[in-house]
Amino acid sequence: MSSLTLTAVTKSFGSGAAATRAVDDVTLDVPHGSFTTVLGPSGCGKTTLLRLIAGFLVPDSGSIAFGDTVVAGPDVRPLAPQSRHVGYVPQEGALFPHLDVAANIAFGLPRKARDGAVRDRVAEMLDLVELPADYRHRRPDELSGGQQQRVALARSLAPQPAVVLLDEPFSSLDASLRGATARAVLRALEATNTTALLVTHDQDEALSLADQVAVMRAGRLVQSAPPSEVYLSPSDPQVAEFVGRAVVLPGTARDAHATCALGDVVLSEPAAGPVSLMIRPEQVFVDLTHAEGVRGTVEEVSYYGHACAVQVRLVDGTSVLSRISGVRHPAPGDTVHLRVTGLVRPYRSGGST
């Protein structure tokens, strides 16, 4: 068990003019025993980052360290994957199809420790990932997708790795299975106090599981912070729009206040002059009874039961999305009044803060 530190890691594919930087100057610190998710759209380089840490790829520059041990870096011969003690859980689990559950879990255990000790370890691991003990003799094709993922995690944890890397492990599961499997994986990782890095393009997964979310875009790490900070205070409007829905409006700021199409709003930090204001849809309150706030006409209503998304066209033509509880909601064509609640994050117009 150890922490994981990446310093200015860069990796390009191809050569000459056709070269693309899949991972571009990424610096990231994953504290010992914590769970970090790397969030980004497909093709942003997050899987390449994972493969660099696992040792399947060697960085062009920069260094990777587990605790105090540098495993790849300048003047260091890159450590082979089989010597790094990283657990690796790929998409779809990739269980060895010719081995049963017990043999899969025991695959990485030293040969000397086979038999008695191994039996105990396998039982312990099955228990850890919340699978019944009699599953040990099942074959991979007799398991559901979620069970396969749990066995794959058990297999990676059995040799007590320094770090566990998970590559979109839940993306092939049904929505109903995804949440339950993710929770079970999280509990197992917490129980063993294992440092974990999970790569995903699913923002719900990234926010709900992690201690730290690292947002990647086009090979660069654009923000790494606790989930609530990434959601409420994204480093730029693009991150805001990738991590959940966002209403971005132009406005004029003066100290702690700003004016925009939704009226006067309170800023999370003082600013001056023209700004872009990032407002989450659930911050936009739709008043159905009082004529207080900015007037608009309801254009579209998407009803989800527990919640309701309402698209409102303001009198000045701006379109704004609001998310409200599903208990009482307007109908298309209704006239409503909108107000912003809570603090609003300002960005200098045309870019980040």
Partner: protein, 499 residues
């Protein structure tokens, strides 16, 4: 690399020969009435048989798969059965029963009856894979059943039909035994006669060149087809079987037709074999000779299977794990060699060995090399399907669990591809057991195999003596046929089936 070079020997031989003798002499060798006759014979027979097998294969497949024909499962088994009868055994059966079966009509009938399963099987497989929802959509859009078949089903069958017919064409160009017995001269039989009578490379090689061109022409068509192929099913939903078409009062006439095909394709050879076995054993039963031939065949086939499968492993490894133009080229090369008739491979190896390594001439080594060239693609297809079961991500996982490359090969890759190595070797073993042409040309003097013994007996019109060998050849062919029937072909099996 060495594998690709070996596979190219026959092609290089023909090409270099043509280059050496020059266009004038070549023209002198080719512009003869005999060659024109051979060309006409070969092309008309190939075209007629390809058309006939396509029509017969599709009609039978639709009858068995899509109608309420009584006893469909049984008919399916019987309709595939001709694959287990080597074409030359089939030819022997007809000729031995009725000497009037010969020439174009005889060759056309026998070859069509022997090879229609090559169209029938892929069409059946395609019909099973087709999503019935496609047809249901067409019906719901107001198309009649017949029109739906013509506009929706038939276009989807096209790759299967064309692919099967091309395979028939390639088989026909390579066919020697059956056509020789039926006294219908084509390039292949003429090359053999020339080789046997004069031992003169010149005329034979020039004809081989024409034959190779015909093969490459067909192969080009096959490659183009392969490039166009798309998956038949888009959705992953449960495959339902479509509602079978009620035949009504057509039922019995059609049943009689299918029964006639089976009687001609399976019944006739079976009857001939039984009859000649009875006649033959009443006079003599050469148990010692039979055993000797069987042992020689098994040993040769075993050696060929092992060599061919081992040669396939690096080819497949490169093609699957290190995709690139070089690895694709090596893989394709082996396919080109496969399209070459056994007669060309045999001829090329005779000349190449005499010129380059005379030591191996008239040895089993050379024969095994010929088998490896001829049957490498069968091993490649099977081993490839196996290696695709062992994706690179499993290696990654093993490495991350602290297991090095060698141990990973032993503990992960090998156990996963072992079944496919076995299946590939078995396929090659069976193919070699019934190979006739190259064996006749290359087997060391004194080596007698089932095929050569059968051939010497039947070409001397000793039909009774040939029967036991023919029976053994058919028995040896049965397992491969069953294998082909089970999963349409090893290449199409992609699901993981841990043993």
């Amino acid at each position: 690399m060495a594998v690709a070079v070996l596979a190219l020997v026959p092609l290089a031989y023909v090409a270099s020969y043509v280059a050496i003798i020059g266009p004038v002499d070549l023209w002198g060798l080719l512009a003869r009435p005999r060659i024109a006759e051979l060309l006409r014979n070969t092309v008309t027979l190939a075209a007629a048989c390809m058309a006939a097998t396509a029509a017969l294969g599709v009609a039978l497949a639709v009858l068995v798969e899509r109608t309420d024909l009584p006893g469909r499962r049984l008919w399916h088994g019987l309709l595939v059965a001709p694959l287990a009868v080597p074409a030359f055994v089939n030819g022997y059966a007809w000729v031995s029963l009725d000497r009037s079966v010969h020439g174009f009509a005889g060759a056309f009938a026998v070859v069509t009856l022997s090879y229609y399963p090559l169209v029938y099987l892929p069409v059946v497989a395609m019909l099973r894979r087709l999503d019935p929802a496609l047809e249901e959509s067409a019906w719901s859009l107001g198309h009649s059943r017949a029109r739906t078949f013509a506009t929706v089903v038939l276009p989807q069958l096209r790759p299967a039909v064309l692919g099967g017919a091309l395979l028939v064409g390639l088989h026909l160009l390579a066919e020697f035994g059956a056509l020789s017995l039926l006294r219908f001269p084509t390039f292949t039989t003429a090359i053999y006669d020339q080789y046997g009578s004069t031992f003169n490379g010149g005329g034979a090689t020039a004809m081989a060149g024409v034959l190779v061109l015909l093969c490459l022409f067909l192969l080009l068509g096959e490659l183009r087809l392969r490039g166009e192929r798309r998956y038949a099913r888009l959705g992953r939903g449960a495959a339902r079987t479509s509602v079978p078409l009620a035949l009504g009062h057509w039922r019995w006439p059609l049943l009689a037709t299918v029964a006639t095909v089976v009687a001609l394709a399976v019944g006739v050879p079976a009857f001939a074999l039984v009859r000649w076995l009875v006649v033959g054993t009443s006079t003599e039963f050469p148990l010692a000779d039979l055993t000797e031939a069987l042992v020689a065949t098994v040993l040769l086939a075993l050696a060929g299977a092992v060599v061919t499968t081992l040669a396939a492993v690096p080819v497949v490894w490169l093609a699957v794990r290190h995709r690139g133009w070089a690895s694709t080229l090596i893989e394709r090369t082996s396919y080109v060699a496969n399209a070459l008739p056994g007669i060309v491979v045999g001829l090329a190896l005779v000349v190449a060995s005499l010129r380059l390594v005379p030591v191996v001439y008239q040895t089993a080594t050379l024969l095994v090399a010929a088998y490896a060239i001829l049957f490498l693609p069968r091993a490649v297809v099977t081993v490839r399907a196996g290696l695709e079961q062992a994706p690179a991500v499993l290696d990654d996982v093993a490495h991350s669990l602290g297991v090095g490359p060698l141990a990973t090969a032993r503990r992960v890759t090998l156990p996963l591809i072992a079944p496919s190595l076995g299946a590939g070797a078995a396929l090659v073993f069976l193919a070699i057991s019934t190979e006739l042409t190259a064996t006749l040309m290359l087997s060391p003097i004194g080596t007698r195999t089932l095929a050569t013994e059968f051939w010497s007996a039947s070409s001397e019109l000793r039909y009774g003596a040939a029967a036991p060998y023919a029976l053994l050849l058919v028995l040896v062919s049965i397992p491969a046929t069953v294998l082909l029937m089970r999963g349409d072909s090893p290449a199409t099996r992609t699901e993981t089936v841990p043993a």
